[in-house]
Every structure is written in structure tokens, then in C-alpha cells.
């Protein structure tokens, strides 16, 4: 916060910016067909001659997927940061509120339950969007319940436990559903839980982007509040912060981000827990003025790289993105922790 660090700060964002651009281009270039960076740049910035099949792949598959990765990575990281600060708990992530479990339950009810009810469902319900809608309904119902409970209890720790209980509750229901469902629908559900960045149209991305932007904007507007929250509740109140209003604001912001992301791409959990810690450790700070922008950027970069790895360059196979984020991220967090030997919020 002191002045001399101004140039250091510029270098930090410049570095992150360059890294981001590189990760973005590499992400577009990797896939079942490898496309050279030169071709990508020509296709995007060059004269519009959309007859090349590569052009079609770039514009209709790779770019939407890369943008999705950016939105998802940035959104999950910021919501993880919000939850860790609100609950004063380094283990909190975007899904501690039971939002992803709610989404899973919604998706499970639709995917596995609909198979049983399939004959009675009207045609429009079985369209492209239905899993997304079912998952959204699930996550926002849980969010609504948690927010209602939050206005009644004072203790954030109790809220954390309530969120976890909702999580267990929905998981239990999902297990029961899975037990009774057919092999096909079970497989369909399991694939949904792997997460998938590649299924979004530009309209979907627009909706997802809108929710994530609103949530991120709310966080940015609350930078000072979040910093003051680090002092603990007693100090926060003494500084004139209304704990109820603040926790509700943060809950809703997180719910919008994590809920919409889960609905559109599935329960990708790990990133939101890890990226804020990576930022804290790398920049050795707890100041949200630094943590919010760096988490946004770092989350996007992280997701782009994870997705590039998941594409298994040169092969037609795609690994589940959910597994890759943890596979690639956990060692980084462990390494940083061992090196720095201490962790603080």
C-alpha cells in the first residue's frame, strides 16, 4: 500500500497480462487439431475469408471455449477469495455453501429422474438448456435457503457448517437417485460432474459472463470492506460495517458466480480454493486491492492452462477438466506452502 511499490505493481500486472495472452493463444492452438499461433492471429485479425475449415474451428469451438475458461477461472477464484475472507477460513471455497451440491442435485434430478419420467415431459423440457436450467434451479434454491438462514444467525461458522450439511444432504439424495437410475443416465450424470468447458454457445457465454461480471463487480466495490473484515468481527463493527448486510452481499455475489458457473460447465471446485492461496503466497499479502485483480487474472490463466492440458495435444481424447485443475494445481499449492512455511488469510 505504500508508494515505492508502484513500479513493482506495474510489472506484476504486465507479467500477468503477458502470461494471460500466452495462455489464451496456447489454449486456442491446442486440441485434436493443433493450430499454429500464426494461423489463429491471421484468422482473428486478418481479412475475413471464412472458407478455411480451421477458421471455422477457431471461431466456433476454440474461441468460445477459451473465453469460457477465462470466465470460469476468474469467477471461481474470486468467489473462493470471497468465501475465505467471509468465513475467515482458509479451507473455504466457492462451494462451501452447498451451491455445487445443489446444482448437482438439480442436474441429477433432471438427468436421472427425467429418464423415469421421460415419457411425460413436454418436448421443450428435453432441449439443450435443460440440464443447465435444472442445475441453476438446484444451486439457486440452495443459495436462497442459505441466505435466508444467514439473516437469522450471527455466527458465520454456523453458516459454514449449515452449508456443508446442505452439501451432504444433496449428495445423499444424488446417491439414492444414482442407485435407482439406469446405466445410461448415470453415465450421463457422471460426465456432467467432470465439467465441460466446450459446450457453450456465445449466448450461454454472454449469460454466464453477465453473472460472473456482476459478482466480480460487487467484490471490487467491496474491496475496502473485505480488507476491514480481516480484522475480525469486533473491529469490523467498530469501523461501522454492518455484518449482516456485508455477509448477505458477499453470499449473493458468490452464489451468482459459483451457481451460474456450476450450472453451465459443471461442478469444477478445486480452482476457487487454490488460486486465492497461490496469489496470497506469491505476493505475500492479504490486501484485497491486490488479491482481487490478481485472483481474477490468475484464475483465468490457471483455467486456460488446465484446459490446454486436458485437451491432450495431438490426441482426440479430452480429459475431464475437473481432474486436471486439481492434478495441476495441488502440487503448486503444496510447493508454495512448503517453501513459505506459513499460511495466513
Amino acid at each position: 500500500m505504500t508508494r515505492p511499490i508502484n513500479t513493482k505493481r506495474k510489472i506484476r500486472y504486465l507479467l500477468l497480462g503477458v502470461l494471460f495472452l500466452m495462455a489464451f493463444l496456447i489454449n486456442i492452438s491446442f486440441g485434436s487439431v493443433e493450430i499454429s499461433i500464426k494461423t489463429i492471429l491471421e484468422s482473428v485479425f486478418g481479412p475475413t475469408t471464412h472458407n478455411n475449415p480451421l477458421d471455422y474451428i477457431i471461431h466456433h469451438y476454440r474461441i468460445p471455449k477459451a473465453i469460457t475458461a477465462v470466465v470460469v477461472g476468474a469467477g471461481l477464484s474470486i468467489s473462493g477469495l470471497l468465501m475465505q475472507t467471509l468465513f475467515k477460513n482458509p479451507l473455504a471455497g466457492p462451494y462451501v455453501l452447498g451451491i455445487s451440491s445443489g446444482a448437482s442435485l438439480g442436474a441429477a434430478l433432471y438427468i436421472m429422474g427425467a429418464a423415469a419420467l421421460g415419457a411425460f415431459l413436454p418436448q421443450w423440457l428435453i432441449g439443450n438448456w435443460s440440464t443447465t436450467i435444472a442445475a441453476s434451479i438446484g444451486s439457486f434454491s440452495v443459495l436462497f435457503i442459505v441466505a435466508t438462514v444467514a439473516t437469522r444467525i450471527k455466527n458465520t461458522m454456523a453458516l459454514l457448517i449449515i452449508g456443508l450439511m446442505f452439501g451432504s444432504l444433496s449428495s445423499a439424495l444424488v446417491s439414492i437417485l444414482a442407485f435407482f437410475s439406469s446405466k445410461e443416465s448415470l453415465q450421463k450424470f457422471v460426465f456432467w460432474t467432470y465439467g465441460n468447458l466446450g459446450n457453450l454457445s456465445f449466448t450461454d457465454i454472454g449469460i454466464l459472463g453477465l453473472f460472473v461480471s456482476i459478482g466480480s463487480l460487487v467484490s471490487i466495490l467491496n474491496t475496502n470492506v473485505l480488507n476491514a473484515m480481516l480484522l475480525g468481527n469486533d473491529y469490523a463493527i467498530s469501523l461501522g460495517i454492518s455484518l449482516k448486510k456485508t455477509s448477505l452481499t458477499i453470499l449473493i455475489a458468490t452464489g451468482l458466480i459459483a451457481g451460474s458457473i456450476t450450472a453451465f460447465v459443471g461442478p469444477i471446485a478445486f480452482l476457487g480454493l487454490a488460486v486465492p492461496h497461490i496469489c496470497r503466497l506469491v505476493w505475500n499479502t492479504s490486501n484485497h486491492k491486490i488479491l482481487i485483480p490478481t485472483s481474477l487474472l490468475m484464475g483465468a490463466i490457471f483455467m486456460l492452462i488446465s484446459d490446454s492440458i486436458a485437451q491432450l495435444p495431438g490426441s482426440a481424447n479430452v480429459l475431464p477438466i475437473n481432474a486436471i485443475t486439481a492434478l495441476f494445481g495441488s502440487p503448486i499449492v503444496i510447493w508454495l506452502l512448503v517453501r513459505k512455511k506459513q499460511i495466513q488469510l
Binding site: G232, S238, G240, I241
Partner: protein, 261 residues
């Protein structure tokens, strides 16, 4: 401007029952003076502090600021009148001294405003006043207990409030740092016109240094200057007589030797 307690009863309550800890208080905290709150563990010192700070609601009566109930004063306005030092640990000690002190300016910032020149001056002044120069970029977890306590006072100081309320600022400190902190609090009263209320277990230091003492016993409270409280014999009844007694000549508490009985 005045901080008063009117028929104030403090304690804890939930939906089913309320537990009275201390009160009723009916007094006015003297302006620009150092007031110590004493009493044994559980007497209600911290409860009183948290009632003033609105972390707890009063069971009855009210804390008045400028003859207005503190519950009715808007949060942001209250934050410009009262600043606190609590005993709670921070959720994150990975902030620098400068960042901690800067958080004292929170009530003066809007959503994302950069600290103004005035903010920077206040922060710098608070750091200098509490002798923390050179430690601005040191993380809180790397400070000694004495430095940490001064950093929290600097944070409260940067809040620029006429009243400063400190909960056990001297616990964990050695004699040297206790003396340093007491002279810092006196300096704040004398040079910065602050009205300071602090809780303490060190009654002897409170007798020699505080202008007024609020003594909490199980069923009563006493408020006066230290000299008058000695005359009233308040310190004799503060602790169970068979274990601890007060020697008014030396203003000292002495332990009875169980063997001499």
C-alpha cells in the same frame, strides 16, 4: 460531546433467557481523561466494552453519546466517534503495519476511493505517535507483543475519534512495555485531547496512572478518582478478603500467606 451510561445493565441474552453480568451503571465518562475499568475476571469489563461498541446489545438502559442512544446512531457516524482496541486476534496477520493502521481510515473512505492526502497524513502521524517508524512494512505476525499493541493503538488513532476504548491493552506486556503504553495513553489524553477508557487487571498501575476508575464488583459498581475510591474502601472489597487484601499506604494488593493463618 459526552459518553454516558444511563441505567445501563449489561449481559448476554438470546431468545430464551438473558444473563445479567453487571449494572446498573449511571455515570458520565469524564472528557479528556484516562478512565480505567477494573474488576476480577467475569466482572463484566469486556462485556461493557462490547456493549459500548455495539457488538452486544444492552439488557436495559443505554449507552449515550451526546445524549443520544448509541443504538440509534448510524454505523458510519459511530465509527467516527468511537475507536477500539480489542483483544481478539486478527483473521489475517499477513498485513503490514501500514496496512493495519490504514484500515483505521475505513470510515472515511467510500467504496473504492484511494486514500487521500489527509488519510496518508493521519496514518503517518499515528505511526510516528506510537513510535512505529521503520516498521511500516513489517507484517503483524512478525511484531513483538508490545509493538503489536502499539500498532493496534495506531490503527485506532488513525480513526481520529474523540473517544478511544481499549480492552486489556496491557495484557501480555512486561513492565517496560506497560509503562510505555501507559505513558502513550496519557500522552493521547494530554496532547490529542482523547477521552480514553481502558480495562485492566493491573489495579495498582491504574491507581497511580488513571484519572478515574470504574470498579466492578459482583453486585455493585463504583466510579470515582483513585484517591476517593481508596478512601471509600472499594479496593478492600474487590477480591475475597481471605486471599487478597489492599494496603492503602502503598496502594498495593498483597496475597495472604495461607500458612500464617
Amino acid at each position: 460531546m459526552a459518553l454516558e451510561f444511563k441505567d445501563l445493565i449489561i449481559g448476554y441474552k438470546n431468545s430464551r433467557k438473558s444473563q445479567q453480568i453487571a449494572g446498573p451503571f449511571d455515570l458520565k465518562i469524564p472528557e479528556k481523561k484516562l478512565t480505567a475499568v477494573i474488576g476480577k475476571n467475569g466482572a463484566g469489563k469486556t462485556t461493557l466494552i462490547k456493549t459500548i461498541g455495539q457488538q452486544l446489545k444492552s439488557l436495559n438502559g443505554a449507552v449515550l453519546l451526546d445524549s443520544q442512544s448509541i443504538e440509534k446512531i448510524p454505523n458510519d457516524q459511530r465509527a467516527r466517534l468511537l475507536s477500539f482496541v480489542f483483544t481478539t486476534t486478527l483473521s489475517s496477520e499477513n498485513m503490514s503495519v501500514y496496512e493495519l493502521v490504514a484500515l483505521g481510515r475505513y470510515p472515511f473512505l467510500n467504496w473504492y476511493s484511494k486514500p487521500s492526502k489527509k488519510d496518508a497524513e493521519c496514518i503517518q502521524e499515528a505511526i510516528v505517535f506510537t513510535a512505529l517508524e521503520g516498521l511500516e512494512n513489517t507484517k503483524i505476525h512478525a511484531l513483538s507483543d508490545g509493538q503489536k499493541q502499539r500498532a493496534f493503538i495506531a490503527r485506532a488513532l488513525a480513526q481520529e475519534t474523540p473517544y478511544m476504548i481499549l480492552d486489556e491493552p496491557m495484557s501480555h506486556l512486561d513492565h517496560h512495555h506497560k509503562a510505555q503504553l501507559l505513558s502513550l495513553m496519557k500522552k493521547l489524553v494530554n496532547e490529542k485531547d482523547k477521552t480514553i477508557v481502558y480495562t485492566t487487571h493491573d489495579i495498582e498501575k491504574a491507581i497511580t496512572n488513571a484519572d478515574f476508575i470504574l470498579a466492578l464488583t459482583e453486585d455493585k459498581s463504583f466510579f470515582n478518582t483513585p484517591d476517593n475510591l481508596i478512601k471509600e474502601g472499594v479496593f478492600d472489597i474487590l477480591f475475597p478478603q481471605e486471599q487478597v487484601y489492599f494496603n492503602p499506604a502503598t496502594s498495593q494488593f498483597l496475597y495472604r500467606d495461607p500458612k500464617s493463618k
